[in-house]
Symmetry: C2
Subunit: 298 residues, 2 copies
């Protein structure tokens, strides 16, 4: 399969769904609308929603019931980027080649645009589904939202972010970096895979396999990100390279060095692909996404 074509097709599907689900211009005060839009449609790779769709389809899911969840995952990811970029946190001026939300709209609106996207994500997941709502799936949906909230919150992404901040400029050990990565990035990647799997109808064995896949992939993804921050091309990344080192961030390269980190990320991708053994070609997109994670240049 052609992974680049697959990613492009799915990204277009997610982008158009996000536009459909996004609040209407006339419903919001203009700056809030523009600020949310600025960050949500800034050319993100849509990895989390695509993972949820790929996992949904690997598990046998059909139709578009996954789309509100896929888009909610991206809204939560985008809110976390807006807040991370704030002067009080990472103080980043550029992301994906664009000035960050607070640089354009000011800190107050950026904070609130982030709050708004996070809250919209939960509204979207609880909206009554349309034609793709074939059966009564409310109990399942509540469980999915619970899993997303846990992954996004203080036991997941927010918790990892606080440890990340607290570790800046300190000599940290591998378990700490691992804690930061599995919480800050890994939890939402894993949730994306599991939400797709559960909604697609994966039962015990397949859900376990996809969970193992998501765990390895989540960590691989962040290790690859760390490496790109050292070795990536600024033009492709749309942001400064080497910023982790300047800030004294706890990363895999800072603890293990670049070469050892590359080996680890390859191992993790192999583990992720290996976890998909119970699946046939229906999981090829998941396999290719895993390989893409370490091959990508942005």
């Amino acid at each position: 399969m052609d992974i680049n074509r697959y990613l492009k097709e799915k990204k277009e599907k997610v982008d158009s769904a996000l536009e459909r689900y996004f609040p209407k211009k006339e419903e919001l005060t203009l700056n809030l609308y523009k600020a949310m839009q600025h960050s949500l449609f800034a050319g993100g790779k849509r990895i989390r929603p695509i993972l949820s769709i790929a996992s949904f389809e690997a598990a046998g899911g059909k139709g578009e019931r996954i789309l509100p969840f896929a888009c909610a995952l991206e809204m939560i990811h985008t809110y976390s980027l807006i807040h991370d970029d704030l002067p009080a946190i990472d103080n980043d001026d550029y992301r994906r080649g664009q000035p960050t939300c607070h640089k354009v709209f000011g800190e107050a609106v950026a904070i609130l645009a982030g709050d708004g996207l996070l809250t919209e994500a939960f509204r979207l997941m609880t909206n009554k589904p349309g034609k793709d709502h074939s059966s009564s799936d409310e109990a399942l949906v509540l469980g999915l939202i619970n899993e997303v909230a846990q992954a996004a919150g203080v036991l997941g992404m927010v918790g990892g972010q606080v440890v990340d901040i607290e570790s800046e400029g300190k000599a940290v050990d591998l378990p700490t970096v691992q804690y930061i990565h599995t919480h800050k990035t890994g939890a939402m990647i894993l949730a994306s895979v599991r939400v797709g799997a559960k909604l697609g109808g994966a039962k015990e064995t397949l859900l376990k396999a996809l969970t193992r896949y998501g765990e390895s992939l989540g960590l691989a993804f962040q290790v690859a990100d760390d490496i790109l921050n050292v070795e990536g091309k600024a033009a492709l990344m749309g942001k400064k390279i080497g910023s982790d080192q300047v800030k004294g961030k706890a990363t895999y390269p800072s603890v293990l060095g670049v070469e050892e980190s590359k080996m680890r990320s390859k191992e993790l991708v192999e583990m992720a692909v290996d976890a998909l053994k119970p699946f046939g070609p229906e999981a090829d997109p998941l396999r290719e996404i895993a390989r893409f994670i370490i091959a990508r240049e942005y």
Copy 2:
């Protein structure tokens, strides 16, 4: 009925439920735990959760099924206070007589503690209920969460907050102040009443009555807050008096003057009480809470 005693009893119930639902100390990094705790247990009046309980019971609800929702409403309220107090927004150093979250824990942790509380609220509402889960209420619960998300988000509280910030220092008209108040404060008050009503089993007529009550009360509450900011006693309020005027905030007193604002808030409370006509004594707590809103000194 003795409203002060009622409020005290319900506040204790909410406080103990919040403690039960709050993440365990060992689950979180210490500063995040302390920051969330600092703001969540800072002596709030618990008006929103108490309203949801009073509305639940007026509608015939029994037991504790309302408690996770009551506590989620308070977590969302608390997150909004933490973010509002930030230097980039209202820049407040004190609230309820305590230094604000960012004054104690720094801006980064305060932003993330707010994010964490908001996300925990949605986790709490989607947790599997315990012994009070008498029947399969998942479809109802999804609808309640949707309503809370709408009230808290860009179409409600967050939207009102952005207009509030954008109106600072400008000459605004009454419709703008009304927009700010009904969105920033009113939407979550109304949602508190409606969540209680729906979960308590209120059908069309009673739900309509409680909706009218919640709408009037929400506006009355914020107008009373505006008046307290002019006339209140700093010692009772635990924060500076007159700060709205210093910041050039769009308030009822700034547009209508204090006396006219007092008349409006009384009228709104009368409208709220009037809306409860279909109810007997089971709605007395709601009636008394409405009267308390304008009689309170803090």
